[in-house]
């Protein structure tokens, strides 16, 4: 967490971080409001002395809204640091997005074709994504890694792995 952009009390905020923090506040407030609205429909329990299922979520949601408002105000009051030093190497957000999408694709594939067939291309793909482009080593390593995980979990520990609906 130490290399995160926001650090050191009163240093200025870069406009992007300021916007992001405000967006996060808005999102959390939206979730909290939705929770409060949903909780209105929770029925009371049959226990006479119970506060009911809605009390705790509502208290938490209200606290969240208050905290987010405070953070938003704090953020708005901080000076904007326009000149601020730009990071030396800009992180590759495209790669992260592709990686996340690949993980989701792997999950979807796993429900159909099972653990091994979904994990092989995923592992090889993420290696490629991270700059390891060997056409020989990537598949070989992927097979070794998938195999090792399979043996550790399925054979040694007896933990079942996803089979996939096509093979059930």
């Amino acid at each position: 967490m130490s290399n995160a952009p926001l650090q050191g009390g009163d240093a200025g905020l870069r406009p992007r971080d300021r916007l992001a923090t405000l967006v996060i506040c808005a999102l959390v407030i939206a979730v909290a409001v939705a929770a409060i609205v949903t909780a209105q429909d929770f029925p009371a329990t049959m226990l006479a002395t119970d506060v009911g299922p809605a009390r705790f979520p509502i208290v938490y949601a209200v606290a969240l809204i208050v905290l987010c408002c405070i953070l938003a105000i704090q953020t708005l009051r901080k000076p904007i640091d326009v000149s601020g030093d730009p990071p030396a190497t800009s992180p590759s957000h495209g790669a992260v997005a592709i990686g996340m999408a690949a993980a989701v694709a792997c999950l979807v594939a796993m429900t159909h074709v099972g653990f091994a067939l979904a994990t092989l291309p995923f592992v090889a793909g993420v290696m490629w994504l991270m700059g390891q482009r060997s056409p020989i080593w990537n598949p070989v390593l992927a097979v070794v890694i998938t195999g090792l995980i399979h043996v550790t979990f399925s054979t040694a520990l007896g933990v079942p792995l996803p089979v996939g609906s096509l093979f059930e």
Binding site: T45, M46, L47, A48, P160, E168
Partner: protein, 322 residues
């Protein structure tokens, strides 16, 4: 138009007979691969241990092994839904529990009792009323008289709202017209702990769950909610003897999805009967203080339907039904 209908009918007929034929062919060699036994509760718990002991015993009577898979969550709802939705080919069978007849009425389940074909009941445990050994109350009559005199103050611990032991205590309250203060705990063990610590007056859990405490003289069972006295505690009266018609038990048994072909059901019933009557299985249950209560498919079905009707009425009466 009619020609079209004819074609459709022929096609449908052909499909059905093909399906039946395939089913019969399947059953002839069933099982050809490993059978998965879904347990809707966590590994190491009572239901899981019964399932594993059963799988051990059944493996001696089936050409392919049974593997136990735990699918926990939602007080059993996740695992039971999975059993209901499984392909009815006999390769995914389930450990059904009394919750099959309760969760649908709570409105938290997608299944109902009709979605399962019962194979065999393996175990059943009655509810019981247990108090701390230090309690001045020695008999069930005193307990009920005391509760009647102080409505709403006698705290009875249970294993969760809408769970079997809660309903047992509710049923007792309904029958006798007594108002208890029902305290839900996260399972039977925490409720027993609270009783040991003197934080509540009684629990409604099964004798098996308080066995070691009773043996050590820390707790006292006042009555069991069964038709007959318990073999482990022959001195404890039943509520029936006291003129209160409440008989509630939890049970565990093998179930399959409802559309499972008849030959497969028959094969499983036979294997389950042999497995349940294995001495090793009976010994394993005895070690856990559990009651061996084998019942074949039809008999088990009757129990399930009776419980389903009973819990529906009871839950509507006490306001739990959705």
């Amino acid at each position: 138009m009619s020609a079209y209908r004819f074609v459709t009918r022929v096609c449908a007929g052909a499909l059905v007979s093909a399906g039946l034929w395939a089913g019969a062919a399947q059953a002839a060699e069933y099982p050809t691969k490993q059978i998965e036994l879904i347990v809707p509760y966590a590994a190491g718990g009572g239901t899981d241990l019964v399932a594993r002991a059963f799988a051990d015993a059944a493996n001696r009577h089936l050409p392919k092994a049974i593997g136990v898979v735990n699918k926990t969550g939602g007080g059993g709802a996740v695992g039971l839904s999975e059993i209901m939705a499984a392909r009815p080919d006999g390769y995914k069978i389930g450990m059904g529990t009394v919750e099959i007849t309760m969760l649908p009425h709570l409105g938290v389940a997608r299944f109902s009792v009709g979605d399962f074909t019962p194979i065999a009941r393996l175990n059943a445990e009655p509810a019981a009323i247990t108090v701390n050994a230090d309690s001045p109350i020695k008999t069930i009559d005193e307990f009920l008289a005391n509760a009647k005199a102080n409505p709403g103050t006698v705290r009875v611990g249970n294993s969760g709202t809408g769970a079997i032991w809660h309903l047992a205590a509710e049923a007792l309250g309904e029958q006798t017209g007594i108002k208890f203060n029902h305290i839900p705990y996260d399972g039977a063990n925490p409720a027993v702990t609270a009783l040991l610590g003197g934080h509540i007056e009684a629990v409604g859990v099964s004798p098996a769950e308080v066995f070691s405490q009773v043996a050590a003289g820390k707790l006292r069972i006042l009555a069991v909610m069964a038709d007959e006295r318990s073999k482990t505690f022959p001195d404890v009266p039943t509520l029936k003897e006291k003129g209160i018609d409440v008989s509630i038990a939890t049970w565990r048994g093998i179930v399959v999805p409802k559309r499972t072909p008849e030959p497969i059901v028959a094969a499983l019933r036979e294997a389950s009967r042999d497995a349940a009557n294995e001495q090793s299985f009976k010994d394993q249950l005895a070690k856990m203080n559990l009651t061996h209560a084998y019942a074949d498919g039809p008999e088990f079905k009757a129990v399930m339907e009776k419980d389903d009707a009973f819990f529906k009425t009871l839950m509507t009466q006490v306001g739990l039904a959705k």
